[in-house]
Every structure is written in C-alpha cells, then in structure tokens.
Amino acid sequence: MIFGRVAIEQSHRLPTGGEIDRLAPLPFRFDGKAYRGYAGDTLASALLANGVTVVGRSFKYHRPRGVLSAGPEEPNALVELRGGGRKEPNSRATMIELFAGLEATSQHRWPSLALDIMELNDLASRFLVAGFYYKTFMGFPGWRFYEKRIRAAAGMGSGTVEWDPDRYEHMNTHCDVLVAGGGPSGLAAALMAGRAGARVILVEETDGLGGRLRSERETIDDKPAMGWVAKTRAELADMDEVRVLTRTTAFGCYDDNMVGALERVADHLAAPPEHMARQRLWHIRAGRVILATGAIERPLVFGGNDRPGVMLAGAVRSYLHRFAVTPGKRAVVVANNDDGYRTALDLARAGVEVMQVLDTRPAGAGAWRERAVAAGLDVMQRAAVVNAYGRMGVVGCDVATLDGHGGVGDTRYVPCDLIAASGGWSPSVHLHSHGDGKADWDDGIAAFVPGANRLGHVSVGAARGRFGLAEALSDGLKAGAEAAKACGFAIGAHPDTPITDEIATAPLKAIWSIPGPTDRTVKRFVDLQDDVTIDDIALAHREGFVSVEHLKRYTTLGMGTDQGKTSNITGHALLAEARGQPIPTVGTTRFRPPYTPVAMAAFAGAERGLHFSPVRRSAMHDWHAEHGAVFVEAGAWLRPQYYLRPGVTKAKAVMDRAIETEVRAVRSKVGLVDVSTLGKIDIQGPDAAEFLNRVYANGFKALPVGKARYGLMLREDGIVDDDGTTSRLGDTHYLMTTTTAHAAKVLADLEWYLQVVWPDLDVRVTSVTEQWAAMALAGPKAREVLAAAADHGTAVSNDALPYLGVINGSIAGVPVRLFRISFSGELGYEVNVPADWGTSVWEALIAAGEPHGITPYGMEAMGILRIEKGHVTHAELDGRITLDDVGMGRMASSKKWFVGRGMLDKPAFIDPERPKLVGLVPVDGKTRIPAGAILVADPATPPPVPKLGHVASSAYLSPTVGHPIALGFLARGRDRLGETVWAVFPLRNLSVQVKVVEPCFVDPEGSRLHV
C-alpha cells in the first residue's frame, strides 16, 4: 500500500475541536511525500497540520511561499492536483477538500521545492523590476528565443493534453430569489424568502453552510452560532421550493439576472462515481439576486511579508476553529483593526504562545484591546512588524514603533514561527461589479462597498461592509423578505433578529504600507501571486503609469489566477498615495467574470465526444450500415459515401473499385441512392404560384399540376443561391426541393420573404424534409424495377409517368410520391416515402431490382455521375456564380420580375472575361485533376501568374468515359473549347495540362432521360 508509511504525524493538530472527523483519517501525498489528514480538511489545513510551511514558489522571484489564506482568495498555495487526464494546475490548496489518496505537487520550482534554481532571480531582483523583460530584451535580436525561456521561467503550472476522463455538464434553473453565499446574512435571506414561499436557490462556495461562523467563536441566542446554522439548514431543507447548493461558486452575474455558478459535484472525491458529473455549470435565471458574498481580508505590507508563516489573521482563526490546526507554535499578531486582538485571544486560548500583539493604530481605548490586555497579552500600539526573517519559514521578525510619518523607531527582534496579519476586510464586490455595479469608497472600513447597480442586485452583510454578526443577520432577513415581496409573495411577521454577544469594535485605521527597517532594504509585497512589490508600484508611478488600468497591466498587479483578491485595493491605495490623491479619485479596476477560475471543460459541458454535435440520420441509415456503407458527413447528416461488399476491408483501391462499380451499375443497369437529405419544403396557399414565380429566376406560373420543374433561385445580389426541383401537387400546393446544404437557409429565406418582403402573399411554407424519406432509382432498367415494385394500380409507363411527371402511387402497401426526375442523366425516378416506411420501400425496390443487378450507390458515385453530366452543385454554385457563368443565363425569365433580377446586368456580371463553366480533361488522358486547382495559361510564367479560373469539382476517374474529368470555371471559357491550359496546385506542387471541353461528358442530348 502506497500510503502505508506515514512520514510525519500531525504535529500541529489540536486534540479537540474543529469540523474535522478524527475517525476518518485520510492519507495523501504532497510532492511525493506521504501525510495524513482528516475528513473535513482542505489540502492547506492538512499540510499545516503536518507542519508543512512551504507549499510553492513564487511566480517571478521563486521565493518560497506558504499558505496565506483559508479561502478562495489564496495567492500562494497553488498546486498541481491529481495526474494524467485529471491533472489540474493552479489549484488552490485552501479550496481543495482532502480525499483519501489525494496527490498534489508544488509548482514554479525546479528541481525541487527546497532547491529551486530560479531563486537566483530573487538575488537579481533589483534588476527584475516591472517591465524588466520587455525593456531589456524586446526588439533585440533573439527576442523570440528569450521570450519562450522567460515565459517558461515564470510559468503558472502546466496543464495536460490528455483526454479528461470525467463528465462535465450544464444545468439550467430558474428561481425567484438567488442568494449567493451561505454565511449568516445569506442564510437569513434565504430563510425569509423561503418562508414566504418563493423559489429560492442558495449557493455556497465551500462544503458547508455558515460562512465566517465556521471560523469564529460567536454565539446566536446565547448558543454557539453553528447551532443556529444547523437549525436554519434543516428548516431550508424542509422547504420544497428551496434548493441549497454547496460546493458551488457563483462566478459571474450577467444581464437579466442570469448568474453563472460552478458546482464541484465530485471534486472532493478521488474520481466521480459512474454516471455522475465531476463539475456542473449552472445557468441560474433569478427574479432577484442577493449577494451575501462576504469579505476578503487584506494582508499588511511589511518587509518579508511573503515569508511562509505570514498568514491572514482571519485564516489563522479558520485553521484554529474549523480545522483544529495551529499554524504555528509562537505567534506575532499585527493588525490595523481589532481583529488582531481577536486573533491573539483565540491563539492564546488554543495554547499558542503569543509573543507580541501589534496594533498599528495610535494609542487608544477599545473593548477588544482591554480584553487582550486583561488576558495578559503583550500589546504594543502604533507598532508593527517591519521585517520578517526565515527563508523556508518565519523564524522571527523585527518589530518597531511607527512615528506616523513613514519612519520607525528602534527595532526589536521577536522570535516566532507565525505572523498573523490583518489589514482590514474588503467586501467581495466582484459579482456586484459584474452587473455593472459601481463601487463606492467607504473610509470607515477603508474599502470599496457596493454602490448603484444596474441589475438591482442587493448586497448584504459583510458584502456591503457590515462586518458585525447582528448586522449581517438583520441585513439578510430584510433583504430576503424584500426580494420575496418583489417577486409577489406575501411576507409574514418579521422575526426578531437573533441576539449575538458581539463586542463593540474600535474603528480601523488604514495603513497601506509599513515602513521597512532603517538598516536594510526589504521586499514588501503587495501582490503575492504576481510578485508585485511596493517598489514596482512606485516605479510604475514614476514612469507615468498613473491610472489603475495602466498600473495593472504594467506591473501585472492583480492579473494572476486570484485576480488580485488580496492585493488590488492595497495596490490602488499605494498608487493613490503616490499620486497624492484620495483613493476614490484613483479608482479601482472593474471585476469581470469569473470570480474564481472555471475549467474550460465545465463550459464545454457534456457536448464533447459522442455528444459534440448532433448527427442526423436518414430513415434508411440502419440498412446502409448493415450493407457495408462507409459514411461521410454532409452537414449534420451521415450519408453513405460508398458501399463495401461483405468481408472486404476498407482500402483506397477497394474504395475506388467500389465507386466504379456503383457508377457503372447506374449507367448500364440500375442503381438506388438515398437522397433523403435534400431539403423538402411544402408550399401551400392561394398565392403559392405567384410566390414561386418571384423566388425562382425561371418561370413557375405555367407549371401544370402533376409536373416537376428544375428551378434556380438567386440572391438579392444576383448570385445563384440554390437549385432544385419544385413539383406542383395540387392547384395551390407545391413541393420544393433544395440542396442538402441549403435546406434550412432556403426555408428561412422563404419565411423572410413572406413575413417581411411580401406580407401580402397568402402562402404557408413548412419543412417536410423529415416526413419523407427519399430515394432515387436511376439507370436504363429503372422503369422495369419500379414497375415490378409498384403495387397494383400504380402505373409507371412513359405515358402514365412521363419525364418530369409526378404521381401518387403505392409500393409495398406504402403510399408514395413518384417523381420522374434525374440527377444522374439516366432514366430516373425519385421516390418519396413517409419516413417510417422508408426502409420497407427501399427493400422492396432492392428486391425488385435484384434480377436487374440493382446496386445501391453513395455520394462518390453520385458525384461522378453528375460531373459526367455537367450538373452543378454547391461545388460550382459557391456564392460567386451567376446564371450565365454556369450556362443557364437563358433560363432567367424575361417576362417577370424575380429576386436578384435587378442585379443581373451589373458590369462585373457581363464582363466577357468572367470565368465560365467548362469541362476539363487531362491531355495525357490519365492524370487526375485536383479540385481547387488554379487554371493558368502557363505554369512556367514568373509570378505573379495570371489566374484564368479554377477547378470546381473533379472525378478522379469517370468509368463511363475512361479517364479523369473535371468541371471548372475559365475566363472566356466558351471561346477556349479545344484549347489547353494548366491546372496547377502549388501547395502540392502539382500541375496538369488540361484540355477545355464542353461541360457534359455523357449523353449531351439527354436522350437517356426520355426513353
């Protein structure tokens, strides 16, 4: 067993307390070393419990870093989690729930965490200021070489190229009230809205409800606050219309109260159970949004404030209370607010030796301070840590008094292995900001609070700077009730706000940087993830980057995966100090989604692999598959490309032979092809004839009932849009067919004309593509086969069903529509069959054709057959081609107006040099002519070689004429018949001399159609 030997026991674990389950020890590995934690731990708390202080290296200077926080804001403790296809770089150890067998490795170090060569950057750091690389290397020869190395040296972990074995999915939901955040204010809001009967969704980022209450020793109604949380959770669980999603982060707010949330369904497990998603992306559409997103504590900026062992004070309390971990044995606490005292008292209570409590504020009274003093703690006011020592973990620090003017008094060394620091709390206004919400500066807490909000989101509790528990609860109750009311629910009696035992706090006094000691230079970090120091900000200011947006991009402040959660405000405040302006004037950068990183896999959801995009199958698909069809994609459709005989394996030569056989069968006997994919549009209404006459370039008014006609429609700019046959089924009833590719577009165009352009026409159009399976029976024996298959009473003689005739008939007891039309140039019939009977009729035709050697054929043979006949498809009608270009100019009616007519005479369309459709054959009688080749007079001409045209489609071998043929467009092509030009394909270094011929290689008179 891999985890059999546990190297280190949990040296920093408290004997009691916390939300951990001591009966469920979990083995895990970090950088290959075995440890043990408990269920309920995060990777960060488990590492701290084992006395692991260094968990990563910093981004630029490669300085050893430890855990700073206990939440989503973590800038330092980023690890690569799991391996193989499941590997995830930049995972925040503070958010990774421990599971048995967890494996993680540290990042940004080589060869190891303890010895990282790039740490030399730290020694050279006086050169590595903001913009250093660009200033030094960019523009010099070799920048491209250096750039790669420089970026590799920075690096933010490495991803994987392996297939992710897990399932991801999306979920849509709607609610009246969405509450983001499951702390006291969020719970109170959800409770009130839920009691009113509203549909409520509460999303909570962590694995449990309670928010900060999980990390503090507070009471509600004289009982531990977590009891109130449990009671509230139970009440919410009993409400049918309330959904509580834990392990779910609301990461973005979008217009119309759409909130994106990521649920980590199985991230806390080694692997998701079968059929379960690993992560689920929620699209939540809410009537009202309540933001109870809490606040994030700010670090203090002092010398060596990035040393492993320097932690946020609130995080220290989280580790003490929620995880029963003491992050150190001897602590120094430094703060610009009362949380310093709170933390020191909690540390002392947990048995940690509190060496010094430093309050940066000037001397003054306060209930918290009095408590600390009463507890016998050594409190210094107007004092701070000025430098922390200890490369691989804090061993001590210099403390000094502050003179209030940027100077320090005498320093004194205090040994310690933990420095708990608090610079105050910044409300998490990210989601508010996504909704175009303004941020207002609040001097009282030295932070931005939510201001006006276009989307009407309401922030409550700490998210709007109300840090007290009683305030948070009353805020939540009020917002929940108001939101439910706004959604039309009646609100009952407002309950009394629960009673708390809070101690009044004295006001915070902002201090954005603590001066360094007088006798040495120190690094004071603002952004720990991006290694931005106070000096970088000063430099940016000196160099003129005085806007927060420029500062951000020049120094990379706040541009890490943490998006500056612990650094932005301090950085902006320091810029404001440098500019000598108030912070609100300098402003802050706008937050953009996502609040925390979201894996691309979650956005992709289930739509990958088999489910990547829908596949469309014809009614005869299964028959094709059973009879050796090799399928090819045609848009969403799968169509038979050709058929392999049983027992034959797929190979190029086999394919060529199969296709040749299929073509020969159609020309000499009879073939059957599935043409269900052609678009079919049912057109009915008193004005149907007039409508068709307007959308087709050729005339349709005179088409009699029971007849089909080939039609061409143009775009409004005169270019050929689509072609197909349209049949008149009744006086006011037509069936239009379109090409496979343009079926949806043609229908949309017809709807557009009817709804917008000619609302006076009374016509209804409906796609019936799916209703009718369609098959084309073609070849000299086609009539004999059809006659044999047709039921009694269905006559298919040349008189009963002449060329372009349309009749209703019956085959195998199935009512069918029979059209005598041909794409192959042979005697041909198209049979339309209600789709559920498609296979029955197909099989009946195959059976009837057996004596005649009927052969099913696929797209390849169909392509060759139509090229032999010079019939155009989208290879020719490619959106650049006019009727004249394909020799069908005379089809355009001169007696009527039609779409595109007004453009037919524009100079470019009647330019004699315009390429025209021609046939092409290789002069040597055997070389294939590549489709897409360029036609030139002489490939030996020095560039630029004048282009005469291009090859549109090519049959590598026409079995009927015995050599390769192609269709192309050639300038003055009609005048060049009999001449030779060259088809060149420079990408493959091919050039073929080709002879220009008529674009019809078989039966130019069309005699085979009329038999």
Binding site: M171, P614, D762, E770, W772, D791, S810, A812, D836, W837
Partner: protein
C-alpha cells in the same frame, strides 16, 4: 407488380438503438426517469390562411370538440391533442384514428385550412419521473417548474442542440419531447447520458 395493399408496420428511428431496461445509476428507489417512445402517432400540422383563423377553429371544434389553443398551450379532447406551434399554426396529434389527415383536409380546406402531414417527421419521446425535469434542464433554458410551465404548456426551444417542442402532459412531471426524426438517435443518446446519474428506465 406487387400485391400489397396495407402498409407494413412503421419503423421507429430508434429501432436499432432502443434497449428496454434500466440504464445508468440505479439507486434504492429505482430509476428516477422513465423514457418511452410514443410510436405510431399521427401528427398533422394545421395552418390557417390569412383571415381564416376563426373558420378553421370552428371547423375543428365542430368535428373534434376541440378548441385550438393559444400561444404556448395545448388542448386535448378525447384522443386528439392540439399544440400551438406558431401564429395560426397548430399540431394535431392522435394515436387513433390514422385518418386524421384526410379528415382535417376535407374539414378545413374549404375554410382556409392548410394541412401538412408530419406523422413520420417527428420522433416523440415521453420522459417522466421525479428527475425528468432535471434531466431536461441539463440542456434547455426553459423554466419547467409547474408554476411556470404547467400542465398543457408547450414550448419550442432547444434541447441538446436540437430544435424541439416540449409538451407538458397531465400528471406529475410528464413531458413529450418532439424532435426531428433524423436526430432521434442523438436525442435518445443525449437523454440517456443526461439522465444517467438518476437512472433511466427505457420502456
């Protein structure tokens, strides 16, 4: 010349893939989703030409005792169900009789009705069960909660990248999903996949 007079049984687009039984994660309470194909349904699209809405509606009401529904709704009388599909456009469906199309044609064509048979063009899957809604919600943004999408509500929306019609039938969490026949296998595969965590019983 063949002697057949009656058509053979209709072949479902799912004939080759439908394996009755339980699929996915089956908990103590059994599958939370049941999926069945509504086979052999006759489904006729009925349009009213301009200005004939009332006449067409009356003709249908007289023949079937069925009021044509308004936007987003369906109505049922006896064995015939009418779904609103768009302005002056409905879908009438029935399991019997199969002669709905000719009947509608003769009833309404004189008064402006336009009849198009779509019986074979759509595959209809009925999804029901405690987790039917959640299964559908994995891909459609429509609010399927009974407060917003009550019985006889009809929506045309997208589901697993397909254009579908969702018809809420009477009963707890019963939905008919109509999709284009050619995409039936895709819809089936996607529903099985989405419902996998709840367990899917194929009937």
């Amino acid at each position: 010349m063949s002697e057949s007079t009656t058509p053979p049984p209709r072949r479902s687009a799912l004939a080759n893939v439908w394996h009755p039984g339980d699929h996915g994660r089956i908990g103590f309470t059994g599958p939370q989703v049941t999926l069945r194909e509504r086979r052999d349904i006759t489904a006729i699209q009925l349009d009213a030409q301009r200005g004939t809405t009332d006449g067409v509606g009356k003709a249908v009401a007289a023949a079937f005792g069925l009021g044509l529904p308004g936007p987003g709704r369906a109505t049922t009388t006896g064995d015939v169900r009418a779904l609103w599909l768009g302005p002056d456009r409905w879908l009438l469906q029935t399991a019997t009789p199969a002669d709905l199309e000719p009947r509608l044609r003769s009833l309404t064509e004189g008064v402006g009705g336009v009849v198009v048979d779509q019986s074979h063009g759509r595959t209809i899957l009925r999804i029901e069960g405690a987790k039917a809604r959640d299964t559908l919600a994995k891909s459609t943004g429509i609010d399927l909660h009974p407060r917003a999408f009550a019985e006889n509500a009809v929506a045309q929306t997208s589901l697993f990248q397909l254009a579908v019609t969702i018809d809420r039938r009477r009963g707890t969490s019963i939905f008919d999903v109509h999709a284009m026949r050619g995409f039936a296998v895709h819809l089936y595969e996607a529903l099985l996949d989405a419902g996998g965590e709840y367990g899917v019983r194929l009937v």
